[in-house]
Symmetry: C2
């Protein structure tokens, strides 16, 4: 094993430079500059870089190396807004070391991930006389934090040139016990707003005897869409749900039960169906669900106001699993409202949806990531067949037919998207080591 | 008929002085001063005035006159807050004449009503050689706009000294066609807040697969409490609903159908059960209902946020009819939530409730008001057996056993409780004439 210190030192410098670039996609800040900087970093390592126009930020596709195996890497160079700025303990766009951690916006999500992989590319080349022993294709976008509006179409259109043996996804974490957590899928999502209106202006609530109530209508809609066990009650909703494979079910047997710790951390009063352990992960990973994100209408201050509000709205998201489709779920919901006499509720899709995606966990590409992570961290890696969260993984699996694995350097207190985003420096260093060994092992598969 | 002009002129001066007193009970402003001023006005007409301590403002009971008949009058000297001040076209506490109307906070509700009746007392005395031909007991409180928290108990405790042949309530209106609208009852009300919480802090909505949702729980509660026709589905809710009498049903046959005008004015999309005319007033007057006044929780800004909110709340009011009781409805609701597995929803009573109250519309006291109003306004008076609104009428009917009638001087555009509160000057003058003739007629009953 070579000495990684020079590569780690260089990576720390790279990361500081990259964090200083305020690439906030939601606000269109410094996206072209950051794409240019990333492109130069890659070109310096011998990558050819193509830049494509996205909706608000360039999509970069870099390529380097030769060999029997081809690895596709997915990262993004954009970050979440830094607000609320007053809660940061150090400037968000200055990488700052404190107590064994590095702080800064994007230091974990996703600049730290990108830089650790880039450092490993350098180390891998040094091991192999300046050449990469596998082909690396690297797709780096700048719109991930706004829902990757360009990515799905881009991947479909460039499926041929993105072909590979597997795709390494942008994130992954280390749990409080030092165990690496690896994901082989992401849930899909569709975010909707339901709106009801009964009049042009608010009414005195005495008219409630003769005028319907928009908040009742919305309540009835929401109450009709799931039951008290959490099961969605929209006809056809579960028709396309893929049953977990034997390997999927095997994988969740080995996930350490974090449900008590999560319950404790957030003061959760109880779980639906009193799940824990395997039953907890079964629901979290393999089952779709309906969430009410917000419900607003009428009087909300102290005390009472006898008003019959003119209107109200509810925001919901559906978390989807393979092989559900956001567009079909939207159609089923509309049919459901029609069936329940609620077709006067307006349904509006909010932002771009994501299709669900889940790889075959027994694929050698996934298993290699697990083996290497276990070796590097000195703990057996934990495999989640899917994250409970969502992201733009689906086109890679559907259009290119790749196994996808997410393995990275964040931690349970990384505060991704929040003030004081951070990584543990030791995780960053392990991340470089993992990346180096993962790519080396893949080249020999 | 004597010339009323001197009494009208004096009443205009009285009203201007009274409007200048900023007796906002919600803010505890100038309540003692206003009570003192009202007391002096009454004493100047020969009333003996007793003052009692209310929760925030004095309750006045004045008495004068002799005769076979005794009339109890109910008014209040407090007003609603003047905010939003910027929407007033003239200073709220300066009685201001524009286009045949007088503007000012409380000019209708309820200082204009009080002053018009006081002017009639003066005229009646002038007609009868300086003496009142009937006994008048006048209860004037200063807490009506905050829900009359002291009144119910006070009336019960002073039932004997408040005994009379009938009670004249504080309001009443003239419709756009010049028809006087008279009410013989008020609905009851109970205002509640339902609160649900699933955790100490907000969660990422991916946890919606395993953690229940407070906004779903509240939606299910609301959806379970009524059906799509508007009927309340809480067991026992209708048990105490008094059937309208033949006279009640007769009365609503003669109410001009304002449902199309109301629909037009507020852009109401439709009425429950497509009611109109008699069926509209049947629901509005004789049926209780549930209103959702507000529903709030979770994300409410533009776009989506994939949050699972820790908590949410709903504000509701139940409008009640005789012989329902607010306390019983609260108990029935709690039992309903228990039955539906929703007993972890917290139910909080907001402010003081009101019991429903409805007089016998065939009572000579009520009929006299109708006859006199028809004569004075030159249009047949319209009798509503009850207002669809609520107020503290119940103790007068229950504790003292009085018929109650509400007849007054507001109009459909009086903007009571809102900026630019006003009365039509001609209605004020007719109000004095009505009060004079009503009291005179009662003295001879």
């Amino acid at each position: 094993m070579q000495n990684l210190k020079p590569f780690i030192d260089q990576a720390r410098l790279d990361l500081a430079e990259l964090v200083a670039l305020e690439s906030v996609s939601a606000q269109g800040r410094m996206l072209a500059e950051t794409a240019h900087h990333v492109s130069e970093l890659l070109q310096a390592e011998g990558f050819t870089v193509q830049s494509y126009l996205g909706e608000v930020a360039p999509i970069l596709v870099a390529e380097a190396g030769e060999g029997d195996r081809t690895l596709l890497i997915y990262n993004h160079y954009d970050v979440q807004p830094e607000s609320p700025i007053e809660l940061w303990e150090s400037p968000p766009f200055v990488a700052t070391e404190r107590d064994g951690r590095l702080y800064g916006r994007g230091i974990s999500d996703d600049k730290g991930e990108f830089v650790s992989r880039l450092a490993a590319v350098r180390a891998l080349k040094a091991q192999h006389g300046g050449k990469l022993p596998l082909k690396i294709k690297w797709l780096i976008e700048g719109e991930e934090e706004i829902g990757s509006p360009s990515l799905g179409r881009f991947v479909h259109e460039h499926a041929e040139e993105l072909k590979a043996d597997g795709c390494w996804w942008e994130f992954g974490s280390i749990d409080p016990h030092g165990r690496p957590i690896i994901y082989a899928g992401l849930k899909g999502i569709i975010c909707l707003e339901l709106r009801a209106r009964v009049s042009d202006s608010d009414l005195h609530s005495s008219l409630g005897a003769v005028v319907d109530n928009p908040l009742y209508k919305l309540s009835r809609a929401i109450a009709s869409m799931r039951d008290e066990t959490g099961r969605v009650t929209i006809d056809g909703f579960y028709d396309d749900v893929r049953k977990p494979s034997e390997a999927d079910l095997q994988a969740i047997q080995s996930i350490p039960d974090e449900s008590p710790a999560t319950k404790q951390a957030y003061g959760i009063k109880g779980y639906l169906g009193d799940v824990s352990g395997v039953s907890y992960y079964e629901r979290l990973i393999f089952e779709p669900c309906l969430n009410v994100n917000g419900f607003h209408g009428g009087y909300g201050d102290a005390g009472s106001k006898t008003v019959l509000p003119a209107e109200g709205f509810v925001k919901v998201d559906f978390r989807l699993v393979p092989d559900q489709s956001p567009a079909k779920v939207l159609e089923l919901l509309k049919a459901h409202l029609e069936k329940h006499g609620l077709s006067d509720i307006e349904v509006v899709e909010l932002e771009s949806h994501e299709h669900p995606a889940r790889s075959d966990v027994s694929h050698p590409f996934v298993q290699t990531a697990l083996e290497v992570a276990s070796e590097v961290h000195g703990h057996p890696a934990v495999l989640h067949p899917s994250s409970a969260g969502s992201g733009p993984m689906h086109p890679f699996i559907e259009a290119i037919g790749l196994p996808v694995v997410a393995a990275g350097i964040s931690n349970h207190a990384s505060r991704v998207h929040a003030p004081n985003e951070n990584i543990v420096i030791a995780h960053f260093e392990k991340g470089i080591e993992f990346a180096l060994k993962f790519m080396d092992r893949l080249s020999k598969l």
